[in-house]
């Protein structure tokens, strides 16, 4: 049985879980409503107490929506972060903290780190299984945007070839990310450093002209400005990786003796398997550290997973409290309709019919609240996504997945079954007392 389950496609598994959650409610509905048509009576109750009903539905929608929004947002952030690392199959740096280097290379949060030599760069770039070996040179910024030195091949790789304008041909030309504060044709002088401590006068007289603009990638690199790595070295008074006789030559091969160093090299291998062989070759004690940003992120998710479990637990506890409130609310609502139900019983309506009317009325409110909760959850996640995207440049997309649908269905199933309790209590109350209510 377990074998059959695991062989099913994930979509079918999720669909079956949903059916399993909803099935008890459908079975109960079939049992209670068999042979009855309480629709008009329920519609009348909904109209008669529309404000109380609306408040009840809104409370359910908000409480369910908060739980759903939280889960959807967490997943959106996880997917967005993973997407940001898509182009960073393998990163080679000097030995140190993988997390620090992942934050620097993928999320553009640079730190002071040791540099890799030209010999190491040439060895990586010349490896038979390496398609792109892009050095990254951090340190400068312009109006809050990181200015990063690299090689021309990295630009079409990063943007999947989607860009306006052209690639640089001289050292002082630049290519802007989609969200960078400069456009094609504009010029800028980078500041030395980042943030409040950036020195705007350090590179006085150095002017870069933007000749290309990459399409939006949904990563922090959208806000970056890319320039030839040779220009970064030159403006810092260093050799530019080439002999003087090479003139304004840009890009590899570099002369190892004239290569000032790079904190990180982004490596794109010719095949997935080659990444592991390359990692094996470039993980060297006291010389180089090769790591997969995807693995670092996954390990981070592992830590976040505990947080996610805590959030899920909080969400479940909240839903339990909401379910208890719903039970209380339904009891109050049944008091509201006490007179109507007493009249039905006085007219000789069967006990099951009265229970069916009250239960269906409660479940209708629960269904409306739960569907509203899905909408509120989606809206809350969408709003949070925009806030997170604008603050981090990581494209976070809110979407409702099976987890949210399962949470909503479980809530609906539990509360629907619980709402049988106040419905069953109605026929036990004296008819005369109900008629006087």
């Amino acid at each position: 049985m377990e074998d059959i389950w695991f062989r099913l496609p994930p979509g079918i598994q999720d669909g079956l879980v949903l059916v399993a959650l909803v099935l008890p409610v459908l079975a109960l509905a079939l049992f209670l409503l068999r042979g009855f048509a309480p629709g008009p009576l329920i519609a009348a109750l909904l109209r008669r107490f529309r404000w109380a009903n609306a408040v009840f539905v809104a409370l359910i929608a908000i409480s369910v929506g908060m739980g759903i929004g939280l889960i959807a947002q967490e997943r959106g952030l996880r997917v967005g972060m993973a997407h940001a690392a898509d182009k960073f199959d393998l990163v080679v740096s000097a030995p140190g903290s993988e997390m620090t280097m992942m934050l620097a290379s993928v999320f553009l949060q640079p730190s002071d780190v040791p540099l890799l030599s030209g010999a190491v760069y040439n060895e990586i770039a010349g490896h038979e299984n390496v398609e792109i070996a892009a050095p990254l040179a951090f340190g400068d910024s312009y109006q809050g945007a990181s200015v990063i030195g690299t090689i021309a091949d990295f630009v079409p790789y990063l943007s999947d070839g989607r860009m306006e304008g052209r690639i640089w041909t001289t050292p002082f030309e630049a290519i802007a990310g989609a969200g960078a504060p400069v456009d094609i044709g504009e010029s800028f002088t980078p500041a030395h450093g980042h943030g409040d401590g950036a020195d705007g006068d350090e590179h006085e007289g150095v002017v870069f002209t933007v000749v290309g603009k990459m399409a939006r990638t949904g990563t922090p690199w959208d806000k970056a400005i890319l320039i030839p790595v040779e220009a970064v070295w030159r403006v810092h008074g260093l050799a530019d990786g080439h002999r003087v006789s090479d003139g304004d030559r840009l890009g590899p091969p570099f002369d190892a003796a004239l290569f000032p160093g790079t904190p990180a090299i982004v490596v794109h291998a010719s095949a997935l398997w080659a990444n592991y062989a390359l990692k094996s070759e470039f993980s060297r004690d006291r010389e180089t550290m090769a790591f997969f940003p995807g693995t670092i992120l996954a390990n981070l998710y592992g830590i976040m997973g505990d947080l996610r479990r805590a959030m899920s637990l909080m969400s479940v506890v909240t839903q339990v409290l909401v379910a208890a409130s719903v039970l209380l609310g339904l009891s109050i609502l049944t008091r509201l309709v006490q007179r109507q139900t007493a009249m039905l019983r006085a007219l000789g309506a069967p006990r099951r019919f009265v229970v069916a009317v009250i239960w269906s009325y409660g479940v209708t409110l629960l269904v409306l609240g739960t569907v509203g909760g899905l909408l509120v959850g989606w809206g809350a996640a969408e709003l949070l996504s925009r806030v997170v995207t604008s603050h981090t440049d990581i494209l976070v997309r809110a979407s409702l997945g099976w987890s949210e649908v399962h949470l909503a269905a479980a809530f609906l199933a539990v509360t629907s079954l619980l709402s049988l309790v106040p419905a069953l209590a109605i026929p036990r109350q004296p008819i005369t007392e109900g008629l006087r209510a």
């Binding site: 695991f6 993973a82 690392a85 398997w273 592991y276 062989a277 094996s280």
Partner: protein
């Protein structure tokens, strides 16, 4: 009732050798009588093979492969009598979800290590014939360009992140 206790006593007596049997039975032991954690073949050192306890269909096997020889050694795959199939897999994040994708062979350059570890690269054994229990030792036939090498895989806890002896020098 007396006969019942006599029968129970006899059963326990006859079963005692089975109950006392070492779970490491049938595995290589070093000079100190401990189960080996290192396996060698013509310059290839396989260190700390391990997996996680599971009752599922698949198990990921991890280990360090050290090429101490002068020529490249290629990891080709594995075979185990307790699983239907085995393949090399590489970790990938697809839309934030963790996946292990099948890989062809992986070469290990001379003087370098290939570390099979969680969320990087592993051997995936599918169709397990039995649940894997913590403390158990499993036979595995590692297939490389050097030929086949019998190794012993230690079953660690279901949530383990490395071999129990990780960090020890062997």
């Amino acid at each position: 009732m007396t006969r019942f206790f006599l029968a129970l006593g006899a059963l326990l007596f006859t079963a005692s050798p089975l109950l006392a049997a070492d779970p490491d039975h049938g595995h290589d032991h070093n000079a100190d009588g401990e189960v080996s954690h290192v396996f060698e073949q013509a310059g290839l050192h396989v260190v700390h093979p391990w997996t996680r306890a599971t009752s599922g269909r698949d198990a990921l096997i991890f280990m360090d492969l050290e090429n101490e020889g002068d020529a490249p050694i290629t990891l080709l795959g594995a075979h185990a009598h307790w699983a239907e199939s085995a393949e090399i897999v590489g970790f990938a994040l697809e839309n934030g979800e963790e996946r292990y994708l099948p890989l062809p062979s992986i070469p290990v350059a001379p003087g370098h290590d290939l570390v099979l570890r969680p969320k990087e690269v592993a051997l995936r054994l599918s169709g397990l014939s039995e649940a894997l229990v913590k403390g158990q030792h499993l036979d595995l036939e590692l297939q490389t360009s050097l030929g086949e090498l019998e190794i012993d895989v230690m079953v660690e806890a279901a949530d383990a992140t490395n071999h129990g002896h990780a960090g020890h020098s062997h």
